[in-house]
């Protein structure tokens, strides 16, 4: 099995446990301030400022608090979390420990997607080594009264469980149905306790920020989207794999590095992201322009846009938790529409209705799944309409 990591990663160079040692000598307020100053935003798609979430959790009085690592990585097209876990899990656990100090949590949970079950033993061995070195468990690094430990909980196959409140429902032994927010998990999450949920990559960056300082991170990337980010690059390019870039990079620059200059489109943000046509390759991957979940799927000239739209919609029809009618039924209708288009029997008027249905689903759905599932279809219809109409039947 070959490595997925293509570019040089900061994670390789950062010294282990420097961040944690500096955190333990510091105060919770100072740790949170450092994270705030770094401008780090969540790397799992939502891009919420990490320090703000910790502040909220710290401010809530509760007998028990939790820190959770979201290793659901369910987004089709994303594999950077897998690469981090297999190569740099210690940085992830270190980041969780730093947050535990900051918010006052004693328990950590890693929700690892069931499909990554083969990595569970490796995760356990990294945890065991950390316990042995006094980096986890009772009196961490010899500091009296500082206790924190992490357990691994393996998922059972459900994309929606990547959504933080559905993830908590799963951890509590229920169906993974997203909850209403507020309350946000940082206030009331697992078992009603304040729970800080962050993505795998976010945790690793927390460690780097604590080790190297807020200004190091803040000076990279753009003003609104500081720092570095990992990208999962797949599809029609010469060098697919995991890359590290500064945020604010344009699609064209990215394509240049990975050898995908001939792309006719780029799906940014995985199945729930959006299709960017050639004419927009100068757009930047950053919070202020294109959402940066970090999955970049490159489509070459021969790709059938409808096949992609159909693949994604099929995925979403299977993964909808079924709570909201627009998401449950509407996504199925969209898939049916895409199949009609593929067979060349879709009326133009019906396509307009599908577009309006897609927008309704986005508006009327409770969680990010339904809010984003029509996006790929809508952007494909917007930018590639000449490819879609009056198609000659394709036989598989």
């Amino acid at each position: 099995m070959k490595s997925s990591v293509v570019s040089k990663l900061t994670f390789e160079q950062v010294d282990p446990d420097v961040g944690l040692r500096s955190a333990i000598d510091s105060s919770p307020e100072k740790i949170i301030q450092t994270v705030l100053d770094s401008g780090l935003r969540g790397r799992g798609g939502g891009a919420f400022p990490v320090g703000r979430k910790w502040q909220v959790s710290r401010s809530v009085q509760a007998p028990q608090k939790y820190v959770v690592c979201n290793a659901a990585e369910g987004e089709p097209g994303s594999f950077k979390d897998r690469a981090i876990l297999s190569g740099y899990a210690q940085l992830v656990f270190e980041g969780m420990t730093i947050a535990a100090l900051a918010v006052g949590a004693q328990r950590g949970i890693m929700y690892l997607r069931g499909e990554y079950g083969y990595m569970a033993a490796h995760m356990e061995s990294v945890l065991a080594a950390r316990r042995k070195s006094g980096l986890l468990g009772k009196n961490i690094l010899g500091k009296k009264g500082v206790h924190f430990d992490i357990k691994i909980q393996l998922g059972e196959g459900a994309y929606v469980c990547g959504q933080e409140t559905a993830l908590i429902e799963f951890l509590e032994g229920h169906r993974g149905e997203p909850r209403n927010r507020p309350p946000y998990p940082a206030v009331s999450g697992y078992r009603g306790c304040p729970t800080v949920v962050q993505n795998v990559e976010t945790w690793a960056w927390v460690t780097c920020v604590m080790a190297r300082g807020a200004s190091w991170f803040k000076n990279l990337g753009t003003d609104e989207s500081p720092g570095l980010k990992l990208f999962s690059v797949s599809g029609d390019c010469k060098r697919p794999g995991v890359y590290e870039f500064q945020l604010g990079l344009s699609i064209a620059e990215l394509l240049d590095v990975v050898g995908g200059e001939d792309a006719k489109g780029v799906q940014v943000g995985g199945a729930s992201g959006t299709m960017i046509p050639q004419s927009q390759f100068r757009r930047k991957i950053a919070f202020e322009d294109l959402p940066y979940g970090g999955a970049v799927f490159i489509l070459g000239e021969h790709r059938d846009m409808l096949e992609v739209a159909g693949n994604y919609l099929e995925f979403f029809t299977k993964e909808s938790c079924g709570q909201c009618t627009p998401c449950r039924e509407g996504t199925r209708k969209l898939l049916d529409g895409v199949n009609q288009l593929r067979e060349g029997r879709c009326r133009a008027l019906y396509l307009e209705q599908l577009i309006s249905l897609g927008k309704t689903i986005q508006m009327a759905s409770k969680c990010g799944l339904g809010q984003s599932s029509p996006q790929a279809f809508l952007s494909i219809v917007e930018h590639y309409r000449e490819e879609l109409m009056g198609r000659v039947r394709i036989d598989e």
Binding site: M1, K2, S3, S4, V5, E73, E75, P76, G77, S78, F79, D81, R82, A83, S86, G87, R113, G114, E115, Y116, G117, Y118, M119, A121, H122, L154, G155, E156, G157, A158, Y159, F170, E172, G173, H174, R175, G176, S232, V233, S234, G235, P240, G241, V242, A271, F297, E307, V308, N311, Y312, F315, K318, E319, C321, E396
Partner: protein
């Protein structure tokens, strides 16, 4: 004395409840163990679990039916799953799908009559850069070509321990 299948199941559930506790929150851990050992969670198993945890069987069913890894029907000893990740080369994926069906004599979503193999499609499993990808129980095979299918099935026949850690951890 031979325990009947049901007695064995009851015993197992009692054992799992002893490990994970008989609180509602132990439900998923118990289901995971039952699925792992018995290759499915039967209706009877759901009733026993409901009884042990003192909840309604419908509640157990609602959880089982939600998660893809929990199945109500028995799965084969080897579950061979082809990743449907859109990034993988479509022709290579199609060829692989065809060869799997040829060699196993079953279609997708089916289990062979001897209970050895289940063939299914799964979504993206985070191997987008290394397709086509197969998962055999817990084990991941990357860049699989149709001509490797025969050998892979022989591997299964010679009983590679199921769910073993694949060669992946070290090298990624």
């Amino acid at each position: 004395m031979f325990a009947t299948e049901r007695e064995q199941l009851e015993q197992d559930i009692e054992t799992f409840a002893a490990i994970y506790g008989n609180e509602r929150s132990a439900l998923i851990s118990i289901l995971q163990e039952v699925q792992r050992k018995h290759k499915h969670v039967s209706q009877y198993a759901m009733q026993v679990i409901a009884h042990v945890l003192d909840i309604h069987p419908v509640e157990v069913y609602s959880v089982v039916s939600f998660y893809h890894f929990l199945s109500e029907e028995p799965k084969g000893q080897y579950v061979i799953s082809l990743s449907d990740c859109v990034a993988h080369n479509a022709d290579a994926k199609r060829a692989l799908a065809r060869q799997l069906q040829n060699d196993l004599g079953i279609g997708f979503g089916e289990t062979s009559s001897d209970g050895r193999f289940t063939l299914e499609k799964i979504g993206c499993i985070g191997m987008c850069d290394q397709g086509p990808v197969l998962r055999v129980n817990g084990r991941i095979y990357t860049e699989v070509t149709a001509d490797r299918v025969g050998g892979l099935i022989c591997d299964c026949a010679s009983d590679i321990p199921s769910g073993s850690i694949c060669d992946i951890g070290e090298s990624i």
